[in-house]
Structure formats: structure tokens, C-alpha cells
Symmetry: D2
Subunit: 185 residues, 4 copies
Amino acid sequence: MSIDTAPRPEDDHRPSNPGWLNEEELRFVRGRLPMLYVEAVPVRINGLGQVTEVGLLLRSTPDGVMNRTLVSGRVRYGEPVREALARHLENDLGPMAFPQMPTALVPMQVAEYFPMPGISQYVDDRQHAVSLVYVVPVTGTCNPRQDALEVTWMTPEKALSDETARELSGGRGTLLRQALAAAGC
Amino acid sequence: MSIDTAPRPEDDHRPSNPGWLNEEELRFVRGRLPMLYVEAVPVRINGLGQVTEVGLLLRSTPDGVMNRTLVSGRVRYGEPVREALARHLENDLGPMAFPQMPTALVPMQVAEYFPMPGISQYVDDRQHAVSLVYVVPVTGTCNPRQDALEVTWMTPEKALSDETARELSGGRGTLLRQALAAAGC
Amino acid sequence: MSIDTAPRPEDDHRPSNPGWLNEEELRFVRGRLPMLYVEAVPVRINGLGQVTEVGLLLRSTPDGVMNRTLVSGRVRYGEPVREALARHLENDLGPMAFPQMPTALVPMQVAEYFPMPGISQYVDDRQHAVSLVYVVPVTGTCNPRQDALEVTWMTPEKALSDETARELSGGRGTLLRQALAAAGC
Amino acid sequence: MSIDTAPRPEDDHRPSNPGWLNEEELRFVRGRLPMLYVEAVPVRINGLGQVTEVGLLLRSTPDGVMNRTLVSGRVRYGEPVREALARHLENDLGPMAFPQMPTALVPMQVAEYFPMPGISQYVDDRQHAVSLVYVVPVTGTCNPRQDALEVTWMTPEKALSDETARELSGGRGTLLRQALAAAGC
């Protein structure tokens, strides 16, 4: 969830996987290379494909602050972008979300996060990350796993309000607006 | 199916609907205005969203020639593009096709058909038509109605072969290639 | 300029052109068919392609009200979409605007205007129009012709403000936001 | 040019730049992370934006084999995607090419290169690379620098021929077809 590249103990502690990075290695590469990410805006659609609801993850940061974010995570070495997207959708929404995976790899938006302010609209103080952002309809039940507390469903209007933008981390209010614009919201 | 703008007796004989056009009116507007169309390439996708099969309609023309075409039809007065797309998908694939409607109105490709040759790659000898083309995953069973004989499912490679291009009417071999390119085929 | 489909006397009074419609014919087709339009958001870009300024047309309506709008106009019978776009850019911005025409026909956004409220976000009380919307960098000098008073250049932030949205006709504040979102604003 | 991530002595030998990687570091990260690339298809367009010619780089590989490729290169740590694209266009086409930079960051296509065969259509035996691919009109004179011998301009038909596809390295015949499809070729 969110821009959290830390390897996850439960499914990543595989030293034989060259894509697995220990803490020191992760710190090294984060300071040397842009990290490739995928992000997804989960949506509910009606029978004509129109977005009726937008799902945002609610979580508590290590400092105890509540904020909202998108489905998000790193693409690993050797992992196709589609598999990374499916893996993070399952990690963040649970195995019963039944996402409709995009037929095109071309994303709705490309977001650039920098640790230094002023380069782009998006900030990630741990790294330089470039994220391929998709709008993904989900048809099943979402049960957030890991550090997310819940998936909050709201109307597109509410999702695009200034109030929601303030709750989104790292400048993602703008990103959400751009991604939903492509879907006609 | 195909670029057939003739009103369909079974569901269109509603003189109270201003979008209904009789033969004379249709002939008049076809010579005065570009006609707005939607077209769809039905596809089967796997769990990661990759196209595994492409569905082409097989039909017999009035002259008894067999050819292939896409889901296609006119947008009527007062009809949203999404509703026109859903209507033609149901008309051409039957009510059990269960298409995944696109979340974005922006199409995969825009095709321009002219009655006069040499203006574009696409020809329609009845009219000037501009078509919004979508790639639409279908998850159910397709039972073509109206004048189509069947939906033939084939691999993307077969769909993109020169042999198939020759069977597609109106230059749609190129259009199919362009639409599938956006889906990574 | 704007959704003005009336034939323009100075360059359209060609009864031999089948795409030319007199007032009565125009009224007839406007009540029977969706009209195909192109719209353009003129922008200034920097050396990296980023939008630095957005150009909006200021005009006085027949009732003497001032409002803002986009470059916009009808696609005629037999006219390729690219030629319609180039023609309306020249009509609305003058011959020295030097627009960078898009390489792809696929637009940034598709907008649907209906005369009846509540079907979409966009309203045009004269007709049902479907518009292909492009963001077009211009490198030259803009001298609005016809009924526009001026082209006002403003920052993307100003263009996206609530104040500007209120000045835009027919719901185009939302459309401008969607089109600029695709350009990363 | 091509997928060559080796730092370039003339402009990259800046040990103070954290994005600079020595040979050993580059080998390490190439085995641990997907590398982010940009690629560009240089094109000539006419006044309406239609592609009239496609530019392909001709180069001699270290083994003395001639092949063709696209403008291509790595995105560095801290470098915005637009700057990486502009830098590689200048590196590969020279300072007088005058490219029209895209207004949208969303690419025409996303290509995934893997060192192991069978995962995608694209192969790079040195690394896992994910590439954002743009079609970029150039208006000036191209003078390839570095290891490219020349830029060969050809019609879109020639660029899409089987003969040209065989000359393109790493599966880029398919990629070229997909990128040009978005531009209507």
C-alpha cells in the first residue's frame, strides 16, 4: 500500500529471488535509481462503465496520523508490470476484490515522485519513484490487508473535493484528479 | 453490425423518436453530414488483462459474399456514446456476451470512412462516417443476431495476419491492427 | 468559435458543396443526428513540453454577456477531422498562431453535449453534439477573428480555478480540467 | 542510443552525482531492479500532423553487425522523465533536431524488456528494463552522435515492413508498429 517499497516479510523473504532487497541494498538503490511503481485507483462502475464510486485506502502512519492513499507498490526485478499491478491489488484489497485488469499497458497517468521538493507535484521523501497509474474497476468485496485500516468508498465528487485532497498523502489529490479525469469524472 | 445505419425495424420503428430516420431522410443526411459511429473489437482476456482471443463477425453480404467485420453501428440523436456502444454490442453479440464496458470515453482509435477513395485508409460507399473504436473484453457467450452468421474467435496473431486483413471489409484490417496495438498485440 | 455550427458566409457560401447547409437544413439535421465537433485548448509550452499558459477565447454573446470558450467547430461532410481542426484553429486564432497539430487522431477527451439537461455534464441548447477535444500547443501570435474579442492567456492554475470555470460556457470548466489533466496540469 | 545504460564519460563522470553509477554498481542494480527507460520514434509530419517519414538509427554493434534502433536511454536518479527524453533525443539526433516534446507524460506505448526470453515480446540481455515510448516530431536537422552511423528516414510503409522489422534490435519491430499505430499509421 502507498509508496512502501520495504520488502514484505510474509511473502518476500526469499534470498534466492534476485528481486529481493535487504534493508541496506534497498537504501543503496533508492539513492541511485528511479524506482518503478504501479498505482491503482479502485472504482465501482455501473453497467455502462461509468464510475459511480471511488475507493481510497485509509491507514495510520507510523506517527499515528491517519491519511488516505491509493493502491501502490514497487515493480520487482523480472516481474511484468501486469503481475505487479495484480499483486498489489490483491495485497491492498484482498483476494476477493476481483479487479478488471486493464487490456492496455499504457496507463491513465504517469506520476513522478521526488525526495526533493519543487521538481514535480508529487513528493516521496524516501526515494525517486516513477509510477504508472491505472483506474481499475473492482467487482467483488474489498478487505484491506497489511497496514490499511479500510477501503472507503465515496462518490467521484467527494473523492475530488478539496477536503479529500488534503487527506491524500504525497500530493496524490492532484494525481487522483488526473486519473479520474481520464475516466470522465 | 458493420457500418449499417439503416434503422432496425424490430426496435427502431418509433416515429415519435426524433432520432429515427426513414429511408429518404437517412439518404439526405448521409450526403450532408459526417455520421457518428461506434465500433468495438470483442476480445477474450486472461486474468492479467492480456488479450488471448479476438472475436470477428462473419456475415454474408447482400451479394452473397462472405466477409468479416467488427461490432459497429450509428449513434442516434440524444443517445450517449456509452449507450450506443452497449446497444450495438448487444445487437451484434447477443444479450449473454457480458461486455466489460470501458471506463474512459476516449477511444483506442478514431477511424474516418469516406465514400470517395484516397482520403483515408477506410472506405464506406454509403456515407462519411467517423467512428470511435473500443477494445471490449467479453466474458459471456456470444450469439450473433441479425445478419451476422457467427462470431469467430481467433488468436491475436491470426487476427493480425494478412489473410484475415483481406477478409475484413472497408479497410478494417488496418483498424484492427491499430486497435490491438493499443492493447499490446 | 464555440459551438457555432452556422455556416460562415465568408467562406462557406458554396451551394455546390454538399457539406454546406442552409438554415432550414441545419435546423432539420440538428434535431435528427448527433453533430460531430472538434474542440481545442490552445496552450503555450516550454522547451520540455510542459504547459505554461492556457489560452481561452473571450467573446460577447448575442445577449451582450461576456463569457469564455474553447476553439470549437463542426466537422463538415467530406472533411477529415484533422482539416476541421486546422480550419477552426485558424478561424479562431488567426493565420499566425502556428499550432502544433497532434500526431494522433485519438483525442485527449470526448465531450457529449445535449440540449436536454441531466444526460451529461455538458449542455448545448441548439443540438446534440459529440466533440473530439485536443490540447494544441501554439507557437505564434493569436489574433482572434470572427466573434471572439480576444484570446486571454493565463497560468494553468488560473485556468483551472473555480472563477474561470464559472466564466466558461456550456459546462466547459469540467472539460478544460479533464483535457489539462491529460497534459499533467 | 539503444538500450545502453553505460554512463557516458563526456557528460557523466561526475562522482558527486548520486545518479552516476560505476561499472560494478551498474552491474549490481541491473540484476536487482527494473531499469526505467525512455524511447522515442522520431517522425516528420506534414501541416496537418500526419506522419510522413519515420527516422530509425543505424548503428554498428560491437560485433560489427549493422542494425536499427530507436532513440533510447535510461532515466537517471533525480531526473524528470521529460528531461531524460530531451537529453536522449539530443544525444542521438544532435542539437539541431528541434523535437516537439509531448505535452502529455502518458506515453504512446509501454515496453517491457527482459533478459530471459518468453516473458514479453522484447528482449534485452543485459537487464530488465521498462520503457516509456513516445512518437516525437522533429523539425530540424538530425546529426546522430555517439555510436549511431546515421538516421535513416523512410515512409511509414517501409518502416512497418517485415524487412525493416528484421533489422530492428530486441523485438522493436513490434514496438515500432504499436507506436505508429497510435499515430494512425
